[in-house]
């Protein structure tokens, strides 16, 4: 019974001191004086704002990426903060805000080591790779501040490492716990990377492609059965079917990441339930789902629009600015500046602010009354209505007169009868675009509606142009004659809505001025909100694209540019995003050497001449495919992007490129130095090269850490390239 007591309890722990040492060094080197400077550095101003919005639970949209990164940063925050350019106040937990990026930056060092080990390279090469990452100034700068790149790089490396672990387990023990763990971790890390920045998508695609290639080899494995499932017999790793392998990979590498990605948004939308500064760019339905803001107004308005309803109409596209259909007493000028004539009727515009003049009444052409009958008669798809402007009681009208700024389209006006044989043409057909059936009722907020003019089949549209002085710079509304398909600028939705009760104009004016009453609330499903938010994130464009430190992808590869992150106006201390130039140059050389050697081997192998053994070749291909492939997928897509680009976009690609250096070096020593003497010389060269990398790191560390403060002469000496922008104070 107690036999087990006869043996002493022995715990044998194997600790790779290399790893421990690297982790410690990484931590020291990234955490050194982390809360210095106590000032908002570069993009911290944006991320800080997002963190404080998280603290206040206020909804926001950031077009630069999905919300997971902001969420992670928000873990470090405690109380609502106010971020402006300048210094942090004393109560800002600056250390904890910068903790997460610094931690992930530090962990990249042991990750790099592990990756090379899993690629079956020597521990020496792996240690070298880790040191290169450790002494890379640009990575240090980026991870010491409240920015997301280092978190992204961490997840990317984690995904690569866990895939490699999984792949190495695949050969000996598939479908074991370890195998499942690493496979699952690959998927999770991928979705985290994509969730932090969309750039993570490139690495995810690379991993999917790698998994695809490996699976293709698996298909060729004739020992696996086709369809019958696992757990039959003890030799289960042989009888596991190809289909099960496919299923496992599909589940972990596709389904899990997608689900995780959705869950980020779910958490994001659940946490941020208050209305905030970015409400305006979302649709009315979305805004109504947030607490405060529009929801306060629209809560409990009647759902179905009926004859006699008083409504405001918002343009669905809302570009250049979100606005509502509007009219006012002023008329179109008889003649425009360019000599064209107008109808001189009442102006109809789109107005970006809430106003009592945004109210319209839906009227049945066959009846005179402007109130809702009892029971209300709802308006359905295809019905013909008239739209009466609430304050002026004029009818929305269009006719064959050119619009003020878009002469190919019709003018929209509120009809004034001048008795000049220009009859009123004020019948509009309501077409619900997102209807489910042809008898759908026109619903508040939810329905997107086109107004088609009955006489001329012109469609009510926001042209996007601003009217001149006479139109108070409001936006132009036109009737588009050739309606090519559906465009969001032709769609309108009812935002505020109430059933009109007052028969007399005076009473009605009072009614229009009074706030609407609430009785029911509407909720959008999560998927609808997710789709909308996702779409907005992807399509939102920032207007001003010029930035002093923006650069083009071609500048990155040779590091012709740097970014001045922070500058102390008095002491002259400064922080720059500037890399270890020697590492960058060596990485480029390594890439070039790799590609040339690879092509050389490939062509020779095709002629059945093998320069290196089969194992070495396979190693060479897999390591290179991962490192060069990772560099390529993270770099080349930027040439096709039109947004403003910065040097820090290159950092993920750079990380892959750095991993390639030891790969190439080890290959050169193992296979190209045949005798002992050149081998020794080569090793000596490598040691010298490593020490110079360390020296360069030390030289530039004042610009990386912001201290010690350098004199003007010292700064001038650091300007190794003319294109670098190092700030030197004028005395």
């Amino acid at each position: 019974m107690l036999g087990f007591l006869k043996q002493p309890v022995v715990v044998t722990a194997e600790i790779n001191m290399n790893l421990v040492a690297l982790t410690v060094m990484g931590l020291v080197n990234r955490f050194w004086a982390l809360s210095y400077p106590r000032a908002v550095v570069f993009d911290e101003v944006y991320y800080g704002q997002f963190v404080s919005l998280y603290m206040k639970r206020i909804f926001f949209v950031d077009d630069s990426g999905p919300p997971f990164g902001h969420m992670l940063l928000a873990f470090g925050g405690r109380a609502p903060l106010n971020f402006n350019l300048g210094k942090y106040s004393m109560n800002v937990p600056i250390w904890s805000l910068r903790l997460l990026p610094a931690l992930s930056g530090a962990l990249c060092v042991p990750l790099a080591y592990q990756i090379l080990v899993e690629l079956h390279f020597s521990h020496c090469a792996a240690f070298g790779a880790a040191l290169l990452i450790l002494f890379e100034n640009s990575l240090i700068t980026q991870s010491r501040l409240m920015l997301l790149e280092s978190v992204l790089i961490f997840f990317i490396l984690l995904a690569i490492l866990s895939y490699l672990k999984f792949y190495n387990l695949q050969k000996c023990s598939p479908f074991t716990a370890g195998w499942w763990f690493w496979l699952l971790l690959t998927g999770v890390a991928c979705s985290c990377a994509v969730g932090v920045k969309y750039m993570g998508l490139f690495t995810y695609m690379l991993l999917l492609a790698t998994a695809g290639v490996h699976f293709w080899h698996l298909i060729g494995d004739q020992t696996l059965s086709n369809l019958c499932c696992m757990t039959s017999g003890k030799l289960h790793h042989l009888s596991v079917s190809v289909f099960c392998h496919l299923l496992a990979r599909g589940l972990t590498l596709v389904v899990v990441p997608v689900a995780m990605y959705l869950s980020f948004f779910y958490v994001h939308l659940t946490l941020l339930y208050r209305s905030g500064p970015h409400d305006q760019i979302m649709t009315s339905a979305f805004q109504a789902s947030l607490e405060g803001g529009l929801a306060r107004i629209t809560q409990g308005q009647p759902l179905e629009v009926a004859y006699g309803s008083q409504i405001t109409l918002r343009n669905v596209l809302g570009k250049p600015v979100p606005c509502w259909l509007h009219s006012h007493k002023n008329t179109y000028p008889i003649r425009y500046e360019n000599g064209r004539g107008s109808s001189h009727q009442q102006q109809v515009t789109c107005y970006p602010f809430k106003d009592v003049n945004n109210w319209w009444i839906v009227k049945d052409p066959g009846m005179q009354q402007l109130v809702v009958s009892n029971p209300p008669r709802p308006v359905r798809h295809g019905h013909i209505v008239q739209l009466v402007h609430g304050i002026t009681t004029r009818y929305l009208n269009t006719h064959d007169v050119a619009a003020p700024l878009s002469p190919h389209s019709q003018e929209i006006s509120c009809y004034i009868d001048y008795n000049i044989s220009m009859p009123a043409q004020n019948l509009w057909r309501v077409e619900i675009v997102n209807r489910e059936s042809d008898t759908d009722v026109w619903k508040t907020i939810l329905s997107e509606v086109r107004f088609v003019h009955v006489n001329t089949s012109a469609v009510l549209k926001l042209s996007g142009a601003s009217l001149p002085e006479w139109g108070y710079r409001q936006l132009e509304i036109i009737g588009e004659k050739l309606s090519k398909g559906y465009h969001q600028s032709m769609l309108w939705n009812v935002e505020e809505h109430r059933y009109g009760k007052s028969q007399e104009q005076k009473e009605r004016e009072v009614e229009l001025h009074s706030p609407t009453q609430a009785d029911i609330s509407k909720n959008l499903s999560f998927m609808a909100r997710f789709t909308e938010l996702q779409w907005k994130i992807l399509t939102l464009k920032n207007e001003d694209t010029e930035h002093k430190y923006s650069s083009s992808p071609l500048d990155w590869i040779t590091m012709d540019t740097n970014i001045a992150y922070w500058f102390h106006p008095i002491s002259g201390a400064q922080i720059h995003l500037i890399g270890n130039i020697l590492t960058w140059a060596s990485a480029n050389v390594a890439t070039l050497v790799y590609v040339c050697l690879f092509l050389w081997y490939l062509l020779r192998r095709r002629r059945k001449i093998c320069d290196i053994p089969e194992d070495a070749w396979r190693l060479w291909v897999s390591a290179g495919g991962l490192c060069v492939g990772g560099w390529a997928v993270n770099y080349f897509p930027f040439f096709m992007m039109e947004k403003t680009l910065f040097l820090y976009h290159y950092l993920p690609a750079l990380t892959f490129q750095i991993l390639l250096i030891p790969v190439v070096l080890q290959h050169l020593t193992d296979h190209l130095c045949r005798s002992q003497l050149p081998k020794n010389m080569f090793s000596a060269l490598i040691v010298a090269w490593f020490s110079s990398i360390y020296l360069v790191y030390r030289t530039f560390s004042p610009l990386t850490y912001g201290e010690p403060i350098l004199s003007a002469a010292e700064l001038r000496a650091l300007r190794w390239k003319d294109s670098w922008d190092i700030l030197i104070r004028k005395h």
Binding site: W216, I219, K319, G464, L482, K484, G485, H487, K548, E642
Partner: protein
């Protein structure tokens, strides 16, 4: 087969390309975003058929009246009708199956879209002709692979090169077919490399032959097209403004042609400065002030595209106001790095900048005219620099690229390219940018130069060489292409619309009484193509997985899978190459951009269905199988013919009420709400 009808109207893009044909006949220089071959051929066809180039081509729908346009249309229609035999031959060569070839050909015969597109004076039929020609000759030379270096092999190989040059010379879309041929060649060479029976010398020969025929020959022909283009168009025309001053000096009738002006700038010279961005204007000022609320209320400085007296500026020293043209003064040249003052000749105000925001580009500084009779302040001083020159060198007219740096703020004079509102006479904004970047926006060159004290030299020595003008015209074309951006709030055609035939393009006629032509693919054919792509992917995946799993195939099926994977793969690759890149293009896209891809997809349809039917036939017993095969092919053909009968009015023209009207004969055919015929 194409019974093209002599419409008396011309339509849509004919305004464009017809006009350009006329330009060739009249030899006036113009600018277009496409390379010149297509328009040259149209012009040639017009010339040979007696068209005199006088029809104005002003707006769609005008009548041709007595002008002889049949030649140009007939030429395009002829090239368009060549597509059918080409498709037939390609599929026959690839699949060795008559019925597959017939199927592919009948799809193209009975597709309303292809017919419509080849009836008019457009570049697309010419492009598609060369494209299919290139694919055909590529396929032919591939099948000659067993007898390399024989006469037919050389013939087809060089014909591929010629066709490639033609395709890329008509539109840059031709690059995709170059890519297709390139990938095919790489694959080909890879196979040869693996063949150990071939010596390295033979391999070198193979490589050289391909380099010569597929790279050097097309390049030479392509360059030759441009040589002809520049040689023919030697008169000044509407395209001048897009090009640099040096380029313009080649054109007869341009005021830069054969002028002689002093070569080096000196103080006191009267000059005009042209912005180096494409269609950049001349630095301009006039008596009008910036309106209230737009920066400081000083005199406007703009960029103006036309030649005008207000474009003249006088170079003065920054610290003195002496008249350098006074005969007693000695000539002093302006040198790189000098600090100067630019005085506007008409208004005697100095070019000035200060830290007020510019009218349109808010992050830049405003540029104004300031001071009276040349006395201003320190904000009028600019440092003049030449790109890529050393300090102290003189500044050349036309050739030097000049940068003007504002001394006080360090910003650089540039043109933002944005049009000013009414108050600025819709001229282009000029700003001073604080962001130091090497862009043509911030560079200028001196175009006119008047200085009576300097000797005039003939500009002929400054004439740009042929490689220079070739490069410049390409830069201008590329920038022009990327400049064709869709406006916001405008409905544009999206690439995903195309394969599902979501929306057509109105070619001519708007109203009920007009003779209307609507470019829309035959929906049955197009949807068949779409389904086939999915079907092909499914079949190909099953086949390769089966082979990889080691399934033993009979000889017949092995051949079938070979055809499916190799021949079908080529067509699939062609479709992908001609379709996917459009998703990444930022420019305005049109429905007709899909047609090259559609050709590949139609040929793929022929191959796939034929393979599928053969496979079914092979699985069944002999007699039943044969019957299935025959009836299947026939049914597909009949389907295509019948659908063409239904939809033929789209391309041959319709009169009468619109299809949205339930009384129209076409009403029943409006299967999608987005079709507007």
């Amino acid at each position: 087969y194409v019974t093209y009808i002599s419409l008396f109207f011309f339509s849509w893009d004919e305004t464009h390309f017809g006009k350009m044909g006329s330009y060739y006949i009249n030899r006036t220089f113009f600018f277009d975003v496409h390379p010149p071959l297509g328009k040259m051929l149209i012009g040639l066809a017009g010339y040979l058929s007696g068209y005199n180039g006088t029809f104005p081509f002003q707006k769609p729908g005008d009548r041709y009246e007595h002008h002889n346009y049949i030649g140009m249309r007939g030429f395009c229609a002829f090239l368009g009708s060549c597509l059918v035999p080409f498709a037939y031959l390609i599929v026959l060569e690839l699949s060795k199956s008559l019925s597959a070839a017939l199927l592919a050909a009948s799809i193209l015969i009975f597709d309303t879209g292809c017919i419509t597109l080849s009836q008019y004076i457009l570049l697309d039929p010419i492009l598609m002709f060369f494209l299919m020609g290139a694919v055909l000759s590529m396929v032919k030379y591939n099948s000659c692979a067993d007898r390399p270096f024989s006469a037919p092999w050389w013939f087809w190989l060089s014909l591929t090169g010629v066709n490639l040059a033609g395709a890329i010379g008509v539109k840059f879309v031709g690059l995709f077919v170059v890519l297709l041929v390139g990938l095919n060649t790489v694959y080909d060479l890879w196979e040869l490399l693996g063949d150990l029976s071939l010596s390295l010398v033979t391999l070198g020969k193979h490589l050289l032959a391909r380099v010569f025929c597929l790279i050097l020959l097309p390049l030479a022909l392509y360059t030759a097209q441009f040589a002809v283009h520049f040689a023919v168009l030697n008169k000044s025309g509407p395209g001048d403004g897009f090009f640099s001053s040096a380029f313009q000096s080649r054109l007869i009738g341009n005021n830069l042609h054969n002028v002689s002006i002093p070569e080096h700038l000196a103080y006191g010279s009267v000059i005009t400065m042209k912005n180096l961005r494409m269609a950049g204007g001349y630095l301009h000022s006039h008596w009008h002030l910036y309106p209230e609320g737009v920066g400081a209320r000083q005199q406007q400085v703009t960029a103006y595209l036309h030649k005008d007296l207000n474009n003249l500026w006088v170079i003065k020293k920054h610290d003195s106001n002496t008249d350098h043209l006074d005969p007693s003064c000695s000539v002093e040249f302006v040198r790189h790095g000098d600090v100067i003052r630019l005085e506007h000749k008409e208004t005697s105000r100095n070019l000035h900048s200060h830290q007020h925001e510019a009218p349109m580009t808010r992050k830049h500084f405003q540029v104004t005219g300031y001071g009276i009779n040349g006395t201003g302040d320190a904000n009028d001083f600019w440092r003049i620099e030449v790109v890529g020159r050393k300090a102290g060198k003189r500044i050349k007219v036309l050739r030097s690229q000049i940068r003007l740096t504002h001394l006080a703020t360090g910003c650089i004079l540039g043109s933002s390219g944005k049009t000013l509102p009414k108050w600025g006479w819709e001229q282009v904004e000029v700003t001073c940018t604080p962001y130091v970047k090497e862009t043509p926006n911030a560079l200028w060159n001196v175009e006119d130069h008047i200085n009576p004290k300097l000797p005039n030299i003939s500009l002929d020595v400054l004439k740009p060489s042929f490689p220079e003008i070739l490069l410049e015209s390409h830069m201008v074309m590329i920038r022009g292409n990327s400049g064709l951006k869709p406006k916001e709030n405008e409905v544009t055609s999206k690439p995903w619309h195309w394969p599902i035939n979501y929306q057509g393009l109105r070619f001519s006629g708007v109203n009920e009484t007009d003779h209307r032509v609507y470019l829309l693919g035959n929906p049955v054919v197009w949807w068949l193509n779409l389904v086939t792509i999915g079907l092909y992917l499914l079949m190909a995946t099953c086949t390769i997985v089966a082979i990889k799993r080691g399934v033993q195939l009979t000889v017949e099926f092995k051949e079938l899978s070979e055809v499916l994977l190799h021949s079908g793969g080529k067509m699939m690759l062609g479709w992908l190459l001609h379709y996917l890149p459009f998703f990444m293009m930022g420019r305005v896209l049109y429905f007709h951009h899909y047609f090259p891809a559609m050709l590949f997809s139609s040929m793929l349809t022929g191959i796939t269905w034929d393979t599928l039917l053969k496979f079914c036939a092979g699985c069944l017993s002999c007699s039943v199988g044969k019957r299935v095969y025959t009836y299947g092919t026939l049914a597909l053909m009949l389907l295509i013919v019948y659908s063409f009968y239904l939809f033929h009015p789209l391309s041959y023209g319709m009169v009468g009420p619109m299809a949205s009207d339930p009384n129209s004969p076409m009403a029943g055919l409006r299967w999608l709400e987005s079709w507007e015929f």
